[in-house]
Amino acid sequence: MSRLNEVFKKLYKIGLVVTFAYFLLFLFYDIHNLDNNRKRYLSAHYISEGVQETGAINLVASVLYDYRAFDTLGEATMILTAATVLAFLVPISKATTFGTTFKSIVKQTVKLILPYLAVLGTYLILFGHVSPGGGFVGGVVLSIIAILLTITYSVEFSEYIVKPDQKKLVEDIGAIGFVLLGLLGVFTGSNFLANGQAYFGTGNAGEVFSAGLIPFINVMIGLKVGAGLAIIFNSLIKEK
C-alpha cells in the first residue's frame, strides 16, 4: 500500500512540474509574440553613450562597476558571507586531503603553471575595463593558485604560503576598499559610488589608466573574490 502511495506521490509531482512547464511555455510564447519594437531605451543609452560617460570600452564592466555598482557591492558581500560561514562551520583541525599522492611530474608542472596563472589573473583584473574579464574572473583565477597548491601539495603547505588569517585580512581589505572608493564620491561632493560625476577623469577610452575608478574597483573586487574563494575551498577541504 505504501508503495502505491509512493508511486502516486511521484506521479503527482511529475504532473505538477509538467503542468508548470506548459504554463511557462505559453508564457514565453506570448511574450515572444508580443514584442517587437520593445522599448530598450536603457540599453540603447548604455550602448551609445556608455563609453563617453564611463570611459570603459567593456560595456559589461561599465554596467557592473559604474551604472549598477550597488549590485556589485551586494554580490561582493555574498562571497564574504559564504566565506565567513564556511570558515566558521569548519573546526580548526588537522586537514585531510583526497588521499592520493601525486608524482613529482604533476608537482613540477603545477610549479611551472602558477606564475602564468598569476600573470593571467593580474591581466584580467587590470584590463577588466578594456577587454572581457574584470575583477570577478581575475579574482577567481588568482584563487586557483591557492587551490592548485592545496590539491597537489597539501592544505598545510598552501596555508604555510598564505596564512588563513592573511587571506581573511585581504578579503576584508578588499571589501572595505570598495566601500571607501565609493565614499570618495561623497567626499568630492557627489553621490555614493559616483565616478564620472565626481570628476574622476574618464581619460581616453581604451587605455589602461582610464575610466576613473573602475580599474581600482576591479582591483579591490579581485582581491576580495580571490581571497574569499580560496578560503571557501580550503574550508571545504579541511572539513572531515
Binding site: 559589461v60 583526497f98 577567481v140 586557483i144 587551490i147
Partner: protein, 77 residues
C-alpha cells in the same frame, strides 16, 4: 551553419542535464557537470557574451565541480 551547431549544443546540454539527474551513480553525475558547464560556455560565446563565458567557465565548470568532487569524496567512502 552556426544555427545547426547551436541547436546541437542545446540538445547536448539537455542530454547532459538529464543524464546528470537520472544516473544512479553520483560520480557519473559529478563528471557530467563540467561537461554541462563547458557546453554552456560555448553557447554563451555564440550568444556574444565573452565576459559571462569566462566567469561561467571558471565558476560553473571549474570551481563548482571541484566543490562537488570534494563533497562526494568526503561523504562516500
Amino acid at each position: 551553419m552556426i544555427n545547426i551547431v547551436f541547436y546541437l549544443l542545446l540538445l547536448f546540454l539537455i542530454i547532459t542535464a538529464f543524464f546528470m539527474v537520472f544516473t544512479k551513480d553520483l560520480s557519473n553525475s559529478v563528471i557530467t557537470l563540467p561537461l554541462f558547464g563547458a557546453i554552456l560556455v560555448i553557447i554563451f560565446v555564440i550568444l556574444q557574451a565573452p565576459g559571462v563565458a569566462l566567469a561561467g567557465a571558471i565558476m560553473t565548470a571549474g570551481l563548482t565541480t571541484a566543490f562537488f568532487v570534494i563533497t562526494i569524496n568526503k561523504t562516500e567512502y
